[in-house]
């Protein structure tokens, strides 16, 4: 069932493995490596056709400097923060409450409501595009950060509820019963008994949702326009001028845009991996 650990295989296979691993790694990372190299090239390299060769000059500082000081990138990054953090908070708070309700209380429509939360995840984004745009337009939330946050919270809560409900189901029910016997009211049970036990799930979920929302491009383009509201993923295209695309600046911008989730991943790696499997096990 499980693959044989590499240290127990033959010497020849071990050597092949060691040689193949870096090769596979480089192949896998090639697009990212290309973006990283593009980001330190001068603009002229793209007009002379020097796409893959050694940069004709090291322009890393100039490119990144331009991204930070001569473009709207800082504003876009800030927008991303203002979109991502409230969404993470909103989705996690709502779903820990819905998860608690669906996981602890037995009532008739429980399974039906739970399925509706789950079913929402199976509706493709593309189908929702036009109705959601019209809805935000009518609510006066089109092209506002609030509108994007509200929509993300609504959409992510479905997945988060699945995750939280299954996690709470896995908790020993005796704890809650014990609290009830003591006469603790339900809000206090949620706050003092269940919530502390949910900390790992909350951490994992927060990291996961942060990455989802930070990397969202689709809804950013559908629901927001312009520098006042768009997050960084959509803002990168602003390096396309009227006539020319600035590949070097776009690459530098992409690297910067990708840093927060990458940092988040390395800082919270444990939670991230836990998050990927937590909902799935039950």
């Amino acid at each position: 069932m499980f693959p044989t650990p590499i240290e127990r295989t033959s010497r020849a296979w071990q050597l092949t493995y060691r040689m193949l691993l870096p090769a596979a790694l480089i192949m896998w990372l090639l697009p990212l490596i290309a973006v990283a190299i593009f980001s330190i090239k001068p603009a002229a390299d793209f007009t002379t056709g020097n796409y893959w060769g050694w940069p004709s000059a090291f322009e890393g500082f100039t490119n990144y400097g331009k991204v930070f000081f001569e473009s709207d990138m800082p504003r876009y990054l800030l927008n991303s923060v203002f979109i991502t953090l409230p969404t993470v908070a909103g989705a996690v708070i709502l779903s820990s409450m819905t998860g608690f309700a669906l996981g602890i209380y037995r009532f008739r429509a429980n399974i039906l409501i739970f399925f509706m939360f789950v079913a929402g995840n199976f509706v493709p984004f593309q189908i929702l595009m036009v109705p959601v745009r019209d809805l935000t337009l009518q609510l006066g939330l089109y092209n506002t950060i609030t509108g994007l946050v509200l929509f993300h919270v609504a959409f992510q809560t479905g997945f988060c509820t699945l995750f939280m409900r299954n996690f709470i189901r896995a908790l020993p029910f005796e704890l809650i019963e014990a609290a009830r016997v003591e006469g603790v009211n339900e809000f206090r049970i949620f706050w003092f008994v269940v919530l502390p036990l949910m900390k790992p799930a909350i951490a994992a979920l927060a990291v996961l949702i942060f990455t989802f929302i930070w990397n969202d491009y689709f809804w950013a383009v559908v629901l927001t326009q312009g520098v006042e509201t768009q997050p960084v993923t959509a803002g990168i295209t602003s390096f396309n001028a009227q006539y020319r695309a600035a590949y070097h600046l776009m690459s530098a911008g992409s690297i910067i845009a990708a840093l927060p989730p990458v940092l988040m991943f390395f800082l919270m790696q444990r939670h991230f991996i836990a998050g990927l499997t937590l909902g799935a096990v039950k």
Binding site: A44, F46, T47, T48, G226, Q242, A245
Partner: protein, 421 residues
């Protein structure tokens, strides 16, 4: 004595003209002036804001309110704001691009401004592009030339000179091909570059008026004159004049071929000069000429996409808006906003001066004096959007598979009958 008086009068006329509203109308403007712009890139935005600042200085009592909207967003919003919440001035594009709004009655007829003899004379080159049904619906503020950009050093190496007619153009091309290079670089991935070729070949073969009739859907795509245009095009394709696999490149990705000397010409707009210079080519290595004559019976006509200012029909302060339009096209403002540190394009006012840049100077002279047939706006602005898309797909297909011409033309003809009805 006489001549001094004349000069003084001329100077006075210039002052009156350039200072627009103040002298012309005899009283200062008041109220609000709401301006919507799509110049969202940093440099054009600064240019526009500076220009509006100068207008404000002339009319201190006017309350000017400027809204800059993202260029792409503007295209989707314009119909909405013109009818629901109109500004007093809005920028847009000439020719067919303004037709839907003119026909919907959303743009103000500004023929009265064009009656002014100064404007009529100085903006003559773009008058056609702003005329629909015999009336003018806006004023131009900038345009840029198209033409043949080429590697002068390779021309010198091969002993060639700028082609004045089609025979020499083809002969030059053959000499270039014999030297192991390609004649023309082009990237047709996004189609419009092939539209540029079609514009020039058709305008030189059949003339500006025929070209415009075709764009307006009045001529069959299976007409023999259209076939002649494609036959001329085919002559180059059969020689192998264009770079291989051009359908996989964008216009920018086709630049390395000319930079590295693998191809010698680029039929392109003047915006190609900046990246060529960035890539290290000097002005001794790149040069420009007007697309050569094919049929000497037709007048020369050029592509020069023009950006414009309009007054919405429902604007509130049309008096101030008219003064602003007059101010924008004035000789000094045209010189200022189009110079190298601002838009870096061509002024539409024939009296304006251009920067000391050989491409701008040649382009300005070409458009102001050597384009008697007219100024086209580019295929995807002259033809309706749907027809432009279908036809440019056809052009690209033709460049790759010239044998399929009959099938392509019959498809375009079917599209024409569907789209224009």
């Amino acid at each position: 004595m006489r001549s001094t008086l004349k000069a003084a009068l001329a100077a006075l006329a210039t002052v009156a003209f350039t200072s627009g509203g103040t002298f012309g109308d005899g009283h200062s403007l008041t109220g609000n002036l709401k301006i919507f712009l799509d110049t969202s890139n940093p440099a054009p935005r600064a240019t526009m804001e500076a220009m509006i600042g100068r207008f404000q200085e002339m009319h201190p009592d006017l309350e000017i309110d400027v809204t800059v909207i993202d260029r792409e967003e503007y295209k989707t919003q314009i119909r909405n704001f013109l009818s629901a919440n109109p500004p007093d001035v809005a920028n847009w594009y000439a020719a067919n691009r303004m037709r839907p709004y003119v026909e919907a009655g959303l743009f103000e007829d500004v023929s009265d401004l064009w009656q002014d003899p100064e404007i009529a004379a100085n903006l003559a080159s773009t008058k056609g592009a702003l005329t629909i049904d015999g009336k003018q619906w806006g004023v131009p503020y900038t345009y840029y030339q198209w033409g043949v950009y080429y590697r002068k050093d390779i021309y010198e190496e091969l002993g060639l000179s700028e082609a004045a007619d089609w025979e020499q153009f083809v002969a030059n091309c053959q000499a270039i091909l014999d030297s192991g290079r390609k004649c023309f670089t082009i990237g047709t991935k996004f189609l419009w570059t092939a539209g540029g070729w079609f514009d020039y070949l058709n305008m030189r073969t059949n003339g500006f008026d025929f070209h415009m009739s075709l764009a307006a859907g009045d001529v069959s795509w299976e007409d023999d004159r259209v076939r002649q245009t494609f036959a001329n095009w085919r002559q180059l394709i059969d020689m192998g004049a264009f770079i291989d696999n051009h359908q996989t490149y964008s216009w920018q990705e086709a630049l390395p071929f000319i930079v590295n000397g693998e191809a010698v010409h680029y039929l392109m707009g003047n915006f190609a000069v900046a990246p060529l210079r960035d890539a290290g080519l000097t002005d001794d290595q790149i040069d420009f000429y007007q697309f050569p004559v094919i049929n000497s019976a037709v007048l020369l006509a050029e592509d020069a996409p023009t950006d414009t200012f309009h007054i919405p029909a429902n604007a509130e302060n049309k008096e101030a808006a008219r003064a602003f339009l007059k101010f924008v096209v004035s000789e000094d403002e045209q010189t200022e906003i189009n110079n190298g540190s601002n838009l870096g394009q061509l002024p539409v006012n024939a009296k304006s001066s251009v920067d000391d840049d050989k491409f701008l100077r040649e382009g300005f002279a070409m458009l102001s004096t050597n384009s008697p047939g007219g100024v086209a706006q580019f295929w995807d602005r002259d033809a309706p959007a749907e027809m432009a898309k279908v036809s440019m797909e056809g052009f690209q297909e033709f460049m790759v598979k010239p044998d399929d011409l009959d099938r392509i033309l019959s498809r375009l003809e079917r599209a024409r009958q569907r789209i224009y009805n």
